[in-house]
């Protein structure tokens, strides 16, 4: 039974695309068939983060409009046979993506894959609405920062009212993915703590992704961080999060700053 997951946040730049790629790769590594779908019409980037930007021929809108078959638009990952990408269009016409068109593609994807992961555009407009519309599960990506938490709260409200699942009167399964977290700064009272964000948003925690240079390195290389350096702290945090999505119960690790000794020696200035 396929599961449709939306990666959303409201605010831009918090790590939706990075998280989509990393979670998608981690789920595909467990042997399940996965497709990551870029809903950011006009500003596609998932192809770049996945390292498939030169292989894009057809896109989501071509498929919804019947200009290409789904099989022609899907890009199979070169590193993982079970991982696929459906890229977004670069067109400026955002209305080119219709509700009916998306519904048809989602139905086809559900039949083909174990996981359909929708990378939502930022904002609360039509694109974000279409991305969350068919979701069974939502991952709300949040930074420990006031504007991100506020926008996440809005998105949670929309997930509970504007999705097909909510309209059927069912409960939308929502998970919090806290990204760019710095344990040291949180402990010193400089950054919202995990518990602060959990208390405010009151949805269950899927994972804590530490602020890490590995994340930028992975996007530079066009490789999901879970593939580029599986032993790194962000990759392990993403892999654990993927396992939790699969229903496994994994103890939550609060990422420790690798430079904690350095930090202790040089005090606050080192942070």
């Amino acid at each position: 039974m396929a599961k449709v997951l939306v990666v959303t946040s409201g605010k831009g730049g918090v790590g939706k695309t990075t998280s989509t790629a990393a979670l998608g790769a981690a789920l595909a590594q467990s042997g399940q068939s996965v497709v990551v779908v870029d809903f950011d019409v006009g500003l596609r980037n998932l192809d770049l983060v996945m390292g498939a930007e030169r292989r894009v021929v057809y896109d989501l809108i071509n498929v919804t409009q019947g200009d290409a078959k789904l099989s022609q638009a899907l890009i199979r990952d070169k590193r993982l046979d079970t991982l696929h990408l459906l890229p977004a269009s670069q067109t400026r016409d955002k209305d080119a993506l219709t509700e009916e068109g998306v519904a048809k593609v989602m139905e086809e994807l559900r039949a083909k894959f174990d996981w359909v992961i929708c990378d939502s555009p930022a904002g609360i407009e039509r694109g974000a609405w279409l991305a969350m519309r068919h979701a069974d599960v939502a991952v709300v990506v949040t930074n420990p920062e006031v504007s991100s938490v506020r926008d996440s709260d809005r998105i949670i409200g929309l997930l509970d009212s504007k999705t097909l699942k909510a309209e059927r009167g069912e409960r939308m399964e929502k998970h919090l993915l806290l990204t760019r977290y710095d344990t040291g700064r949180a402990e010193r009272g400089e950054m919202l703590k995990v518990d602060d964000v959990l208390e405010i948003l009151s949805i269950p925690l899927l994972g804590i992704i530490p602020e890490s240079e590995e994340v930028l390195r992975a996007s530079n290389l066009g490789t999901p961080v879970t593939l580029s350096n599986p032993a790194s702290t962000p990759a392990r945090a993403y892999s654990d999060a993927a396992k939790r999505l699969n229903g496994e119960s994994i103890t939550m690790m609060v990422p420790q700053n690798r430079r904690s000794l350095f930090g202790k020696l040089f005090g606050r200035k080192a942070a």
């Binding site: 006031v146 506020r150 709260d153 409200g157 010193r188 009272g189 400089e190 950054m191 919202l192 602060d196």
Partner: protein, 90 residues
């Protein structure tokens, strides 16, 4: 003073948490209120439609929140030739 301000500057997270809690409590109430007006409008329309033929756009519901008192304003335009069904349903 300089030592105090040094420590205060470092613990900004509790301020962030408190600001968010106050703001979101307010914003959630606003969203809930919008929904309430929508629900009231639909139910009022349904009740009126049982007895009088009215167009949905002729029912207006407005809520104003004040500190001491809140008011709910319901405005219904009933056309002169509207069929009244009271006799039938009684």
């Amino acid at each position: 003073m300089s030592i105090l301000s040094f420590f205060n500057r470092r613990t900004s997270a509790p301020v962030a948490r408190d600001r968010l809690q106050i703001l979101l409590a307010h914003e959630r109430a606003m969203v809930g209120q919008n929904d309430l007006v929508g629900v009231l409008r639909e139910e009022i329309l349904a009740v009126i439609a049982k007895h009088v033929q009215v167009e949905p756009e002729h029912v207006r519901v407005k809520m104003e929140r004040g500190d001491a008192i809140s008011t709910l304003e319901v405005e219904v335009d009933i056309p002169a030739q509207a069929k009244v069904r009271i006799a039938l349903s009684a």
